[in-house]
């Protein structure tokens, strides 16, 4: 029973990581006022780039870096369309998902002779036990034998919090997402802040994708991301657009996945089918939005295009 519990906790941490990274990315974009439905696509590109880089260089750390760069690169069309061209942000995000999945699978087939998936990566990231802490009963093996991407994700939550709530940059970014006119009368460049927010979301979602393909998994195919980007979006909402909220929400959603996967260990699946557990995050998100599970309040100017000097 203890072992099962440890196993479930470890699985929770495992599946929390990509959600947390991508949702932190979405946080920067949406806090600046740009909805990012394209997280799914950005994760896909990150996952793909990380695998290819690691296959070529045998260095998974380099894979993480290129995944971030590729995520940033692919967030540019979304930024241009929705900020400069004032396209509908949701439509642009949908297009980004099409684009990223298309490009990634197209390149996989082109690079690997028509195969729909990459070869297995041998040099994946290895779990990084933290000496001492890993020996704590139950939680030690679950929390302190995690992948480096998990530690990275946790560090990013704290850095994200500090940046958003303690620095001038973060305050301006949030102001732009709430009341762009006010920010502009105070001399803040609304367009530049929004571009920055979207690019950061690309980098972090790319990293999130990489954590799925070269840490949790070891290859890339069309179904590597399979909706994780959309769950990240739910994580962001359920976490009320706040770094620590997002940390809590991703832990909770990771736990739901862990229950669905490992529920049989504690006999849970005899009562509740795992598919029903899979639904839980989405049902909760709807309830949160409808105001039944604490009101989720989005940045006020989210989804609205902005024209300099417009009132």
């Amino acid at each position: 029973m203890i072992e099962s519990l440890t196993d479930i906790l470890a699985t929770t941490v495992l599946y929390m990581t990509p959600l947390l990274l991508a949702a932190m990315g979405g946080l920067f974009s949406e806090r600046s006022g740009v909805v990012n439905i394209g997280l799914e696509g950005l994760m896909t590109i990150g996952a793909f780039t990380a695998v290819v880089t690691t296959l070529e260089t045998h260095n998974p750390w380099l894979g993480l870096v290129t995944a971030m760069l590729a995520g940033m690169l692919f967030s540019i069309p979304h930024a241009i369309a929705s900020i400069t061209f004032k396209a509908d942000q949701v439509v642009s995000g949908v297009a980004l998902n099409f684009l990223a999945l298309g490009v990634a699978v197209y390149l996989v087939k082109s690079l690997y002779k028509g195969s729909g998936q990459t070869p297995d990566v041998q040099d994946v990231l290895q779990a990084m036990p933290i000496p001492g802490l890993e020996n704590i009963p139950v939680i030690g093996p679950a929390l302190f034998r995690a992948f480096p991407t998990t530690y990275l994700a946790l560090i990013i939550v704290f850095i994200g919090y500090v940046v958003l709530y303690r620095t001038p940059f973060g305050m301006r970014l949030r102001a732009v997402g709430e009341h762009p006119q006010a920010a502009e009368t105070m001399g803040v460049n609304v367009y530049r802040m929004r571009y920055t927010g979207v690019l950061i979301s690309g980098a972090l979602a790319g990293l999130g994708g990489a954590s799925l393909s070269i840490a949790i998994g070891s290859q890339f195919s069309e179904s590597t991301i399979a909706g994780q980007g959309f769950i990240a979006l739910a994580t962001l909402i359920f976490g009320k657009w706040h770094p620590f909220g997002v940390l809590g929400a991703s832990t909770f959603f990771g736990f739901a996945v862990a229950l669905a996967l490992k529920g049989q260990l504690i006999g849970l699946t005899t009562y509740v089918p795992s598919e029903a557990l899979n639904m839980l995050p989405y049902i909760l998100t709807i309830l949160a939005l409808a105001g039944f599970v604490g009101r989720a309040e989005a940045p006020a100017a989210i989804g609205k295009t902005y024209e300099t000097g417009g009132r």
């Binding site: 439509v91 087939k109 082109s110 049902i283």
Partner: protein
């Protein structure tokens, strides 16, 4: 809502055409980058979509669900709503149709009709909640419909493994009596899998046209979509129209699901991820300018690209996913409305002046 009413106006035929051409160019560049010959590939694509009667039949079969999901997205757009949940409504449509098809024992034709209606109602039901939450609690439909998509996916998987079978990963085939397969039609196209669904799709397109432009309901739906404030002033019930629009949109999506299930696959299986047909509807509708005729045209283009694309992979060796990239590029170009943007830059000075005038008159 203002943003969406912009979508309803922006897609002229000319702008769509330019966007398609530019999208194909982007695909061409992708092919050159990966070392393929784009001209050869595009020739292979368009040829293989029309070469044999069989291929024409298959192309029509690919077009069928795209028309319906395109109509679903387009109708919601017309009322100022973004139904990104067509995918989920599609799945529930499939599920409802398969339940009626394998659980009920009805005479031929009637069985199919009941199954199709069940699919339509399933889709409408699935779209009701996001519409209701939008109208009554102001919850944005984009996020709720995304969530509803996942719930639909897992619900369908749950139903297949737990209720419709004893743990199998697909249901048994629907009986002949409920199938939309029509041998006469199939024979016309050399035994291709084209089925009765195409007629459902065409009728749905005509219905959307009739509903929106010939009925009092449509008048209200369009008025609310363009200007909810004026609609309220004129005494229309804005909330009711939002829910209604979502449900009609869901009917189209559910019909797409029923038609695919009863006509093409013949069974429901557990799915790891979406079919993507619902999301394609967004591209179809945007390119088609949210008009039924435009949607039929753009669904045809996307259907040709989809079916031709898979043959292109066999003939010219170019991965079919390049077509997804073409779709994406087309959506970007239509959404960013580059054609209008280019013409607006010239007008910009004029606009600025009229803005100043507006500010002044609000003195």
């Amino acid at each position: 809502m203002q943003v969406l009413s912009k979508i309803n106006k922006q897609s002229s035929f000319f702008a769509s055409l330019i966007s398609v051409i530019m999208g194909l160019l982007v695909g061409g560049v992708m092919m050159i980058l990966a070392g393929y010959n784009p001209i050869q590939a595009y020739i292979a694509l368009f040829q293989s979509a029309f070469l044999q009667p069989f291929d024409i039949g298959e192309t029509i079969r690919s077009i069928t669900p795209l028309i319906l999901t395109g109509l679903a997205v387009g109708l919601a757009f017309r009322t100022g709503l973004f139904n990104i949940g067509v995918e989920g409504q599609f799945i529930i449509g499939q599920l409802a149709a398969v339940i009626v098809a394998i659980k009920l024992d009805l005479p031929p034709v009637l069985h199919a009709i009941v199954a199709v209606i069940a699919g339509a109602l399933g889709g409408a039901l699935w779209a009701f909640l996001p519409g209701y939450l939008k109208a009554k609690r102001g919850v944005h439909e984009v996020i709720t419909t995304i969530m509803m998509n996942f719930i639909a996916l897992y619900l369908s998987n749950l139903a297949v493994t737990e209720w419709l079978t004893e743990g199998a990963d697909k249901t048994k085939n629907v009986p002949e009596s409920a199938s939309l397969h029509w041998s006469f039609l199939s024979q016309m196209f050399d035994g291709s899998s084209v089925h009765f669904g195409i007629f459902i799709a065409i009728v749905a397109a005509i219905f959307m046209y009739y509903l929106l432009w010939k009925t009092t309901t449509g008048y209200q739906l369009r008025a609310v979509g363009f200007n909810p404030h004026a609609s309220e002033y004129a005494g229309m019930n804005v909330s009711r129209n939002i829910v209604l629009s979502m449900m009609i949109s869901g009917i189209f999506a559910g019909l797409a699901g029923a038609s695919e299930l009863l006509g093409t696959s013949g069974y429901q299986s557990i799915q790891a991820s979406y079919t993507g047909i619902g999301f394609d509807g967004i591209a179809v509708s945007l390119l088609g300018g949210n008009t039924p005729f435009g949607i039929v045209l753009s669904a045809s283009l996307f259907g040709i690209l989809t079916y031709g694309g898979s043959n292109m992979e066999f003939v010219a060796g170019v991965p079919r996913e390049v077509i997804r990239v073409v779709f994406a590029a087309i959506i970007f170009f239509v959404a960013a409305n580059i054609v209008r943007w280019a013409s607006q830059r010239r007008k910009k000075k004029k606009v600025k002046e009229s803005n100043e005038k507006a500010v002044k008159s609000g003195d």
